[in-house]
């Protein structure tokens, strides 16, 4: 019942906040969001699951109730956590609390609606990571779109309307593709499955696969579904060439929405890839490993090069997310313990680091009302703490040892280097070159914006940021360093959940 409690607190909290007076909405939402955060930390401590949720693992906090009986299929309320989903749930709850605190300064109109939507999004994100029935999962998955669309559309920057509708249309079309593909798969599996429960579908896929549907052979159907689902999720991740909605959405979104968008929403895509494509289709992963690895490497390099060309700090961070997500895909396709484990670790790590970066950029923007690197110089003079954290976050991005980014990238490269597909070492080497580019664009931008003599083209009085802007960043920095020093805090449970996947293909 713990997961239900998390969802209930967030949903009821969203309703209460939505109708609360604007004046207290921010504080109220923060207080409410502490409850799921504390609960999820307790769940983290009390975690007693083992193995993979889809592959006969022991689930923690499981509950399964039959919900709708469709005759030939049943739909259940089926939630539970394993070593892959639990860290992501904790990431979601913590990041939401911090994002709410970081909104106190920049959000100054329609606060109650804003914070209500943030809590609503939190509930759905928890649901995405906890749901183990496809139908239930898809409801949460789609329900994330609506609040994010409104958050960007109402509180966003000058081009918010365009960015919001682009985000909505891109991701919704992708979802429809993926949805259709999965339904076709379930129908193709025939009498082998009687529900939409993911473990049952995974089991049927690994023991025989689909029979065929609409005149397609079983193996062809599996391949078509694999590709369609990959494309559907690829938009969400996003990988090149489906990434164009991301910079628009990020740049226009208000800072707290960016934090959640980069920190958690992008992970929905990679999490779904891991749960569906890379768990249920080991044969197809092997067949399509080279093209997927190529897409991953292109995302890493091209995303980094795009970042290099930007002068808007937020755009730089946004494009660097494309690059970082490329690493995740590379880790997944490696299909080794360190590859997939590292990819999952990177999901958490990137969530923390990109959240930190967006917050830091947001704090600077609050003071200066500009994000253009070319407008700023010597910000370190005026905002030493915020800038210090921005620099620390940048080093996390670059993979400085003892920060979580280093551990994640190390695991991924280690796993990918020994992967079984053709030219794996070459792809890995190319992807590693991305690190150089990351260092290049981040250091270049920092050098121009924060160091040197103070100079700023603005009429605003620039002063130190208030404590409630700084505090969340320190919390994030603390977690980033903790995970860097002791990756086993979560890596152990991640690998425990990853190993069963590799028994069906790949290598341990």
């Amino acid at each position: 019942m713990m997961i239900e409690a998390l969802l209930a607190v967030a949903l009821v909290g969203a309703l209460v906040t939505f109708v609360a007076p604007n004046r207290i909405a921010g504080k109220l939402a923060f207080a409410i969001s502490l409850v799921p955060a504390a609960l999820s930390l307790w769940m983290f401590a009390a975690f007693d699951g083992s193995g993979n949720a889809l592959l006969d693992g022991t689930l923690a906090f499981e509950s399964q109730v039959e919900w709708i009986d469709l005759g030939s299929y049943t739909i259940s309320w089926f939630v539970g956590l394993d070593g892959i989903s639990l860290p992501l749930v904790v990431l979601t709850t913590i990041l939401t609390s911090l994002a709410i605190m970081s909104s106190w300064t920049p959000i100054d109109n329609r606060e109650s609606q804003f914070y209500g939507l943030i809590l609503f999004i939190e509930a759905n994100l928890i649901g995405v990571f906890a749901a183990l029935d496809f139908f239930l999962w898809f409801i949460f998955w789609e329900a994330v779109l609506i609040p994010m669309y409104l958050l960007i559309g109402i509180w966003g920057g000058p081009r918010r309307k365009y960015a919001a509708i682009k985000f909505f249309v891109y991701t919704n079309v992708a979802s429809l593709l993926m949805f259709g593909a999965f339904i076709a798969l379930v129908l193709g599996l025939g009498d082998g499955v009687t529900s939409f429960a993911l473990p049952e579908v995974a089991n049927a896929m690994l023991n025989g696969g689909p029979d065929g549907l609409f005149g397609l052979e079983g193996t062809t159907l599996a391949s078509v579904v694999f590709v369609a689902m990959f494309l559907g999720f690829a938009v969400k991740v996003p990988v090149v060439p489906f990434h164009t909605w991301l910079p628009d959405a990020h740049v226009e979104a208000p800072t707290p929405a960016s934090v959640l968008l980069a920190g958690v929403l992008l992970k929905m895509g990679t999490y779904a890839l891991l749960r569906f494509n890379f768990t249920m289709f080991p044969d197809q992963v092997e067949t399509y490993a080279v093209p997927i690895a190529a897409i991953a490497v292109i995302s890493v390099i091209y995303g980094a090069m795009l970042a290099l060309a930007q002068t808007d700090l937020k755009r730089i961070v946004a494009y660097s997310s494309v690059s970082s997500m490329g690493y995740v895909i590379l880790g997944l396709v490696a299909y080794t313990q360190f590859g997939i484990g590292g990819a999952t670790f990177q999901m958490v790590s990137h969530g923390l680091i990109s959240g930190l970066m967006f917050m830091a950029v947001g704090v600077i923007y609050n003071a200066t009302h500009t994000r253009l690197v070319t407008d700023m110089s010597g910000m370190a003079d005026r905002m030493p703490v915020a800038v210090g954290i921005l620099v620390a976050g940048a080093f996390g991005y670059m993979g400085l040892p003892l920060m979580s980014g280093f551990a994640a990238e190390y695991f991924i490269f280690f796993g990918a280097f020994g992967a079984g597909f053709d030219y794996a070492p070459l792809f890995t080497a190319l992807a590693m070159f991305g690190i150089v580019l990351v260092a290049g664009y981040l250091l270049f931008a920092l050098q121009r914006a924060v160091f040197g003599p103070y100079r700023l083209e603005t009429d605003y009085e620039v002063s130190r940021a208030p404590l409630h802007d700084i505090a969340p960043m320190f919390v994030l920095l603390g977690i980033i360093i903790a995970l860097g020093v002791a990756p086993d805090l979560i890596f152990e449970m991640i690998t425990d959940a990853v190993d069963p996947i590799l028994e069906n293909g790949g290598e341990l």
Binding site: F18, V19, E66, W67, I68, D69, L70, G71, S72, Y73, R110, S112, Q113, F135, F138, I139, F140, W141, E142, A143, L145, I146, L150, G153, I154, R160, K161, A164, I165, F168, N172, V173, L176, G180, I183, L187, F214
Partner: protein
């Protein structure tokens, strides 16, 4: 349970309660024709609808109409089988009562300065009585009578804003097209009677199955085609859909809500009953040479496409909702298109669920338009710009309705559309053309998001173009809208029982 000992006609209680309520309203009006007690009138009407709803729900759970093999009390046949109370009838009585309750509560505020309030409420309740009877009608004669009982008050209701040119014009158009389609429907009945010699649905089926109609197959086929025309009018489907945008736009918003939700559902229940009971697919096909499901396949695809494409081009919110209502008739038609000789209860059950969910989300959407009319903000999308800054709760409810109509999770509309999709896919094993229907459903749903989200965008994201005065928050309208929104959302966790009820009802009638 006490239901056992009661005489059979009491099973019609949901409809009878509505009829009595209508008469009581007349009595109020004749006692004091010159004064208007809004609370009394609206309260009586809403109370009658709620009691009717409660009784219908109670009957459903008590097992009235449930076949005895399933542990129920058996179907109840009244007046020698002219009327029948089974699960299907009770299900649609519930839908009608829900919509009636919502709109009578909302009308309390909408009609603040209206002159003919008693007439308005009694017409609404009488039309609801007709719709409730349509759910139970089991012979072509009772069907026609119930249909007319529902239709005649509706014509007057559309034109009830007597000083409003649009309303009167809409009422006239609605009446003329209604009269035409009634004529076609009656002619269809006479042809079916000529071919089979019976009016009661089971007897028609018995004659068709017995092979006594040889030689009259063409006559029967023509009759069936004309009956389809009558259903198309009542459900606002192609080819008799074109009255809908005019009537819905001109009518007062609660009446539009009533017609597009309850009236449509009632039209569907007679279509479901007539085609599953009177014209068994296999035997009828042997007689007339074509499967009547093919007609519904074509109608479903054309109706949803026409409705959605036309809705996408509208600038007037009410017209957009009217065309979207046509599109949704197309979705519900899948329930008939997907029937097969020996099954199809799932797809029909899905259509029934869609009509129930639609009863909440569409009624709510039209009531929001009623609220906007009361605020006098204007009729186009632009006029709705930025309303959420002034009325966030109502606009949040409207966003729920619109996303649900578009079929976006987690709202009820997603569920019913998903079930329709699954049902269409299931039926495609027998009829390949159902794949095209499933594809049309998906494509149209995706398209519909375009125009529904346009309204969400206007409400929530656009800045208001003009400064408005403080917007009133009329209690009745707000209450109805919020109840509809909550039901659109909680139908999700509650979908298990709804699915069971709908599927059982569909199984009983199809099997």
């Amino acid at each position: 349970m006490a239901v056992f000992e009661l005489p059979g006609w009491t099973a019609l209680a949901p409809a009878l309660i509505l009829a009595v309520t209508g008469l009581v309203l007349f009595v109020f009006d004749s006692i004091s024709p010159n004064s208007t007690n809004r609370s009394l009138l609206a309260g009586t009407a809403a109370g009658g609808a709620l009691v009717s709803l409660a009784v219908a729900v109670w009957f459903t759970f008590a097992g009235v109409g449930t076949p005895t093999v399933d542990g129920g009390l058996g179907e109840i046949s009244i007046l020698g089988g002219q009327l029948v109370v089974d699960q299907l009838a009770l299900y649609f009585m519930i839908v009608v009562a829900i919509v009636t309750a919502l709109i009578t509560v909302a009308s309390y505020d909408y009609l603040v300065d209206h002159t003919y309030q008693a007439e308005y409420y009694s017409l609404i309740i009488l039309a609801a009585t007709g719709m409730s009877l349509m759910a139970a009608a089991n012979s072509l004669v009772t069907i026609f009578i119930a249909l007319e009982l529902a239709s005649l008050p509706s014509y007057a209701l559309v034109a009830i804003l007597k000083d409003n040119r649009g309303s009167v014009e809409a009422g006239l158009k609605y009446f003329l097209i209604g009269a035409l389609s009634s004529a076609i429907f009656v002619y269809g009945i006479s042809l079916v009677y000529g071919a089979t010699g019976h009016l009661q649905l089971e007897n028609i089926a018995a004659v068709i199955s017995g092979g006594d109609v040889d030689g009259y197959g063409g006559l029967l086929g023509l009759g069936i085609l004309m009956l389809i025309g009558g259903f198309a009018f009542k459900t606002a489907s192609v080819p008799f859909h074109f009255w809908a945008p005019e009537a819905y736009e001109g009518a007062p918003a609660p009446v539009s809500a009533f017609l597009s939700s309850a009236s449509k559902a009632a039209g569907f229940v007679i279509a479901f009953r007539v085609f599953t009971t009177a014209f068994p697919l296999g035997e009828t096909t042997a007689l007339i040479g074509v499967e009547w499901t093919h007609a519904f396949i074509i109608l479903a695809i054309v109706t949803m496409t026409v409705g959605n494409f036309a809705a996408a081009t509208q600038d007037n919110v009410k017209r957009m909702l009217a065309y979207s209502s046509i599109g949704h008739a197309g979705y519900a038609l899948i329930g008939l298109a997907g029937l097969t000789a020996d099954g199809g209860e799932f797809v029909m059950g899905a259509a029934m669920m869609h009509l129930l969910v639609y009863g909440f989300m569409n009624t709510g959407a039209f009531l929001f338009v009623g609220l906007a009319e009361r605020w006098e903000v204007g009729r186009t999308f632009e006029d709705y710009n930025g309303l959420s800054t002034q009325a966030p709760v109502a606009c949040a409810a409207m966003a729920v309705f619109l996303f649900s109509l578009a079929g976006i999770p987690p709202f009820g509309g997603f569920f019913s559309k998903f079930f329709l999709f699954m049902g269409a896919i299931e039926a495609s094993a027998e009829t390949t053309a159902m794949l095209a229907v499933a594809a049309a459903l998906v494509v149209n749903s995706a398209l519909s998001l375009y125009y529904y989200s346009r309204l969400v965008k206007a409400l929530w994201i656009e800045e208001p173009s003009t400064t408005r005065d403080r917007l009133a928050q009329p209690t009745g309208l707000y209450a109805a809208i919020i109840v509809a929104a909550v039901m659109t959302v909680v139908i999700l966790p509650g979908f298990g029982p709804v699915v069971d009820t709908a599927l059982e009802a569909a199984t009983a009638i199809v099997g």
